[in-house]
C-alpha cells in the first residue's frame, strides 16, 4: 500500500532523511519511531506530497507521489503534528470545507453533510460541531484533526504524533480510535513514545538521524536484541539460592538483579538455544526455596531504542 524506496531529503547541507526504504502492507499499522529530529516528520511530509524528496521514490496506493500527486493525495489522509485548523471556522464548517477540497468530485450538500457527520461521529466530536476550532481544547483539536484526515475515507492514513500533548485518558481514546481505523485504512503513525508503538502498531520502523536502524514487529524487536536467552527468577529468601542456580546445567552466569527483604531476583543467562526453564524451576524448588516468578527477560522497547540509537552514535564517534 505504501512503498518508500531509497528516499533522501536534504535541506542544503543538512540531510534530514538518508536513503530510507520500507513498505507498509494493506491494513497494517506501522509505527515510525525515533528521537526528535530523526526525520520522521520529513518522511511523512514527503509521503503526503507536502514537499518533494531530493532523491528516491515513494508510492501511495500504487501512485507515485511525485509523478501523480493529485491521485496519491486523494487517497491519503494526513494529520500533521499540529492539527491544521482554521480558528474562525466552526468544526462543521471546517470539515465541510475539507470534504470539498479532498474529494475532487461533485458532491451533493446532503452527501457532504453525511460525510461530515460520519467523521465527527467516528472521532467523537459531535458535541463540538458548532464550536469554533480556535476555541477547542487540545484533545478536541487533535480529534478534529483526525476527523479531517479520515473524512474522504482514504486508503492511507498518515498521522504525525497523533497523541502528542494529550492527557492519559485522551491518549487511550485516541489509540483505540486509531486501532479501530486499521483494517479499512493503512496507517503510518510517528511517535517518540515507545509503549504507544507496542500497543498500537504491528510493525515498527526505528529511524535515527535520518537512517532506518531497525524494521520489525515490536515482539521480535524485544526478543531478538538480547542475544542469548536470559531468564528472570524471583525466589524468596535472601540470595542463598545462588549456588543451586549456578549448578543447573546450561546456565552460564547468574547475577543478582534485585534484592529485597523477603525475596531476591536473579538474572540467569543461559547458553544459546538451550531452554533451561524447567531445570531452573526444579533446582529452586529442590533446594527448598519458594519460586515466586520465572519469566524470559525481554528488553523493553526503551532499552532497544536506546541501544539502537546510541550504537549509531558510538560508531560514528569511532569513525569520526
Amino acid at each position: 500500500m505504501i512503498e518508500v524506496q531509497h528516499l533522501t531529503k536534504r535541506y542544503g547541507p543538512v540531510t534530514a532523511v538518508d536513503d530510507v526504504t520500507f513498505r507498509v502492507e494493506k491494513g497494517e499499522i506501522l509505527g515510525f519511531l525515533g528521537p526528535n529530529g530523526a526525520g520522521k516528520t520529513t518522511t511523512m511530509r514527503v509521503l503526503t506530497g507536502f514537499m518533494p524528496a531530493t532523491d528516491g521514490k515513494a508510492f501511495v496506493a500504487g501512485y507515485d507521489v511525485f509523478a501523480q500527486p493529485i491521485e496519491a493525495k486523494r487517497r491519503t489522509g494526513y494529520l500533521p503534528e499540529s492539527p491544521p485548523l482554521y480558528p474562525d471556522m466552526t468544526v462543521r464548517e471546517y470539515l465541510a470545507f475539507v470534504a470539498r477540497i479532498k474529494f475532487g468530485r461533485a458532491m451533493s450538500p446532503a452527501e457532504r453533510r453525511q460525510r461530515v457527520d460520519q467523521a465527527m461521529h467516528k472521532t467523537h466530536v459531535d458535541d463540538m460541531a458548532g464550536r469554533h476550532c480556535g476555541k477547542l481544547s487540545k484533545g478536541y483539536r487533535q480529534r478534529v484533526g483526525l476527523a479531517q484526515a479520515i473524512i474522504h475515507d482514504p486508503e492511507v492514513l498518515i498521522l504525525d504524533e497523533p497523541t502528542a500533548g494529550l492527557d492519559p485518558k485522551q491518549i487511550i481514546e485516541t489509540r483505540d480510535l486509531i486501532r479501530s481505523l486499521a483494517g479499512d485504512h493503512t496507517i503510518v503513525l510517528s511517535t517518540h513514545i515507545l509503549p504507544e508503538v507496542a500497543q498500537t502498531c504491528q510493525r515498527v520502523v526505528i529511524i535515527n538521524k535520518g537512517k532506518v536502524v531497525a524494521v520489525d514487529t515490536p515482539e521480535n524487536l524485544t526478543h531478538q536484541r538480547k542475544g542469548s536467552a536470559t531468564l528472570y527468577v524471583q525466589v524468596d529468601g535472601n540470595g542463598n539460592a545462588m549456588d543451586s542456580l549456578t549448578r543447573v546445567p546450561g546456565v552460564r552466569r547468574v547475577t543478582v538483579a534485585d534484592r529485597h527483604a523477603s525475596f531476591t531476583g536473579f538474572e540467569i543467562e543461559a547458553e544459546a538455544n538451550r531452554d533451561v526453564r524447567r531445570d531452573v524451576a526444579r533446582a529452586v524448588v529442590d533446594s527448598g526455596f519458594g519460586l515466586l516468578e520465572l519469566r524470559p527477560m525481554r528488553m523493553s522497547l526503551e532499552e532497544i531504542f536506546l541501544q539502537l540509537t546510541t550504537e549509531e552514535q558510538t560508531q560514528e564517534a569511532a569513525n569520526g
Binding site: 500533521p80 492539527p83 471556522m89 475539507v98 477540497i101 479532498k102 475532487g104 468530485r105
Partner: protein
C-alpha cells in the same frame, strides 16, 4: 476542468468566509466607508458651492457631475485602496504558514494554481464588497441628479482592476514570508513604487520616460476615472495580475523545494 473550477471556488469561498468571520472584512469596510464618505461629502459640498456660483454668478459653463465630482472621487478612492489592500492581503499566505493550515492545502488533491487562484478571487471578492459599500454613496447622487452611469461603471471597473493588481502583488509577497507585518509593509512599499514610478519620467530620457509611465499603475487608471474603457489599459492590468499570480506560483513551488 469542472474539478478545477470547483476547487478554486472552494478555496475562494473559504477565503471570503474567513474574512467575514474575523473582524478583517468589517473593519476594512468601516474604515473604507468612513474615509470614502469624507471624500464624498467634501467633494459634494465643493461641487454644490461651485454650481451655485456658476448659476447665480453667471459662470462660464454648466458643470458636469461626472467630471467634477465622480472623477476626483474615484481617483481618491484609488489612493485609499493602495493603503487598505496590503492590510487585507498580508495574511493570505502568511497566516496559513504560521498556523500550519498550509499543510492541509498542500497535501490536498489541489494544484498550486487552484489554491492561488482561489485565494486571489476570494480576496477580490472582499474588495468588490468594499466597492459596493462606496457605491451606496454614489447612488445618492442618482436620487438627486442625473449623472451618467456608463462612465461610472468604467470608473468602478478601473478601481476593481487596479485593486486586483495590488492583491496580486500582496499575494506574491505574502507567499514569501510567515510574518504578516513584513508582508503588509513590503506590499505597501512595492505598490507605492508602482504608483510613483512615473514621477521619474520627467527627469529621464524620452524612451525611459515612456516605459516608466507605461509601468505606472496610476497612469492607466486615469482614463477609467474619466469614464473611458481602453483595451490598452485593461490589457495592462490583466497582464499585471497574471504576472503577479505567476510569481506567486513560482514562489509557492520554490518554497516546497526549500521546505
Amino acid at each position: 476542468m469542472a474539478n478545477t473550477f470547483r476547487n478554486i471556488s472552494a478555496i475562494a469561498g473559504k477565503e471570503l468566509r474567513s474574512y467575514f468571520a474575523s473582524p478583517v472584512a468589517w473593519v476594512m469596510m468601516g474604515l473604507f466607508a468612513l474615509i470614502f464618505g469624507y471624500f464624498f461629502v467634501s467633494y459634494l459640498t465643493y461641487f454644490v458651492r461651485q454650481s451655485m456660483q456658476s448659476q447665480f454668478g453667471g459662470g462660464p459653463q454648466s458643470m458636469n457631475i461626472n467630471m467634477e465630482l465622480i472623477r476626483p472621487l474615484l481617483s481618491n478612492a484609488s489612493v485609499l485602496v493602495l493603503f487598505l489592500l496590503p492590510m487585507v492581503t498580508m495574511r493570505t499566505y502568511s497566516e496559513e504558514k504560521r498556523s500550519g493550515t498550509i499543510e492541509l492545502l498542500l497535501t490536498s488533491p489541489l494544484t498550486d494554481f487552484e489554491i492561488i487562484a482561489g485565494k486571489f478571487l476570494g480576496t477580490v471578492g472582499l474588495y468588490a464588497a468594499l466597492l459596493v459599500v462606496t457605491a451606496l454613496y454614489v447612488a445618492i447622487l442618482f436620487w438627486f441628479g442625473r449623472p451618467e452611469w456608463r462612465p461610472l461603471v468604467a470608473g468602478y471597473l478601473g478601481l476593481l482592476l487596479l485593486g486586483s493588481c495590488f492583491i496580486a502583488i500582496g499575494l506574491f509577497i505574502s507567499s514569501m514570508t510567515k510574518n504578516q507585518m513584513v508582508a503588509g509593509a513590503a506590499t505597501f512599499v512595492v505598490a507605492l513604487l508602482f504608483w510613483v514610478i512615473s514621477w521619474f519620467s520627467e527627469s529621464v530620457g524620452p524612451t525611459t520616460s515612456q516605459v516608466l509611465s507605461y509601468l505606472s499603475i496610476t497612469e492607466h487608471f486615469d482614463d477609467f476615472a474619466k469614464g473611458v474603457i481602453d483595451t490598452k489599459h485593461v490589457i495592462y492590468y490583466l497582464s499585471f495580475i497574471s504576472f503577479g499570480l505567476f510569481l506567486t506560483l513560482k514562489s509557492v513551488d520554490s518554497e516546497r523545494w526549500r521546505g
